[in-house]
Symmetry: C2
Subunit: 309 residues, 2 copies
């Protein structure tokens, strides 16, 4: 890294959290992406000089790359008199349901912001990161981007109205990434556009319970509320063995378990690290029984979001 270079880490995220489809997400401590950014003299221009960890799956063309688009949008809006060179080091799986594109977009914008004379507040970076994320996902949501940016559990009431909830102290997140391919666009297209009024009411009741449970550190309430009766039943079929893996989590004491984002990763929330370890092991074994390899991650909720080194 040259003298003017800066390194930023942005974390993987779990969106939806069961009953919070499109509006809830949380940040992990790991995995995540790293971006190294250097200032250049080409005002408003972005060059991607290196991508590692993506197996050739990500474009170098900045207008097609989430990090590139996010950085370009930021430089343009700030009328920056400088440009950027970006190295993107993917340190998390792509297409895993863990917010990989959001992590890169967030890291790029946070890095770019450090070069401003008067850097913006962290929350003011949200629209640029969302613009980047949109390139990958096709739609503008804040449920991955917002927690990657500011950390915590985040309620994204709207793309410009985000609320961080500091979770219970000992809350651990288990994420299991099975080696399966799911396209977010397909996972979205398969969803019915219709919800029954009864389902809407039940899901809303659980959402309310989950938010209060997080805000009040009420584990039993989190446990009763962490349910998704609308999206999960439709997407479960994309993940062979889903119900066995979920059962393994619950039987071993997880507060709840569902699909992370659009999948194929699953997440489980646990009251402490001891339970989290057991749950991670049981879930991995359950996937093995279905002859699916998987990678477990165990993390507390990341409380600060993207980090500058």
């Amino acid at each position: 890294m040259s003298k003017s270079g800066i390194k930023v880490f942005a974390p993987a995220t779990v969106a939806n959290l069961g009953c919070g489809f499109d509006i809830l997400g949380l940040a992990l401590n790991e995995p995540g992406d790293e971006i190294i950014a250097r200032k250049t003299e080409s005002a408003g221009q972005v060059t991607i000089t290196k991508i590692t960890g993506a197996q050739g799956n990500l474009p170098y063309e900045p207008t097609k790359n989430t990090a590139g688009v996010a950085a370009l949008a930021f430089l343009k809006k700030q009328r920056a008199d400088f440009g950027l060179e970006l190295e993107i080091h993917k340190k998390m799986p792509i297409g895993s349901g863990l917010g990989s594109s959001s992590a890169s977009a967030v890291a790029a914008v946070v890095a770019a912001n450090t070069f401003l004379k008067h850097p913006l507040h962290r929350r003011e970076l949200l629209p640029f990161a969302i613009a980047g994320e949109k390139v990958a996902s096709g739609s503008a949501h804040a449920d991955n981007v917002a927690p990657a940016l500011i950390g915590g559990i985040v309620l994204a009431r709207d793309v410009d109205d985000i609320h961080r909830i500091i979770p219970p102290k000992s809350l651990y997140v288990v994420v299991i990434y099975p080696k399966l391919q799911i396209l977010t666009s397909e996972a979205r297209a398969m969803l019915s556009d219709r919800v029954s009024l009864g389902e809407h009411i039940q899901q809303s009741a659980n959402l309310g319970g989950l938010i209060l449970g997080f805000e009040r550190s009420d584990f039993p309430l989190i446990k009763r509320s962490l349910k998704d009766i609308i999206i999960e039943p439709q997407r479960a079929e994309l993940i062979p063995g889903f119900y066995d893996v979920k059962d393994a989590a619950l039987v071993n004491g997880a507060l709840g378990c569902s699909i992370s984002g659009a999948g194929p990763s699953l997440f489980a929330l646990c009251e402490n690290t001891f339970i989290a370890n057991n749950v991670a092991q049981a879930m991995t074994q359950a996937f093995q029984k279905h002859k699916i390899e998987s990678t477990p991650y165990i993390s507390e909720v990341n409380k600060e979001g993207a980090k500058i080194f």
Copy 2:
């Protein structure tokens, strides 16, 4: 009142609160119902000796009366060695969308409970009050009963899982009761059984915002979130002038305004008593323009629920 008599007040309630259909409610300081209860020697029996304020619209037969059913259910389950005589004094309009039947059911059970050697905790009375309320509304919900029983703003995640939120200190509730007749059963039957996924997401986002707003005393967040895009548009037609009255509330500074329960009453939340007074006046005048008489109530959120005298 004889020596052994006891008087209980249970408050009117506003259910739904916009985006919390069937799961959110709050209690008012007034109006409300009063029940005077006396112990008798006829174990498990309930006699209704007097009903005032109901214009002959409520049955004296205890198995058909919400207060009677609630008291009977309670005495039976507790294997009480006594019976009850109840005087029901309706001090609030019936069929107004202000939880009149819940208030009576709650008052009856709270009164009955005082005669036990080992009275139950307030929250343990919920199922009996719900049983009573069900006689009137035909379905078991806690969104009126729970706030009437324990006060505050209540999230009823389920009929046996209720959570009190103590609201912002200066929050005032304006309720306007127009002299219109709406049957709860009709107001319910007219609702579409289908919600679009987009509507579900938007309503959920607002619900999350509203709950966090209440819990954190965040008035701007309450204001942005207090919206109902699913139920209100369907029921508005039952209330002539609805949108004019709502506009009058918002123009005069209300945080939000929607239908109270199944209507026809409207409620508006306000940041202080000054705004509340202006809003109440403007809403009443707006109904007048539609040649509809209405009664305004202004109240803080009731923080303790039913009260024993």
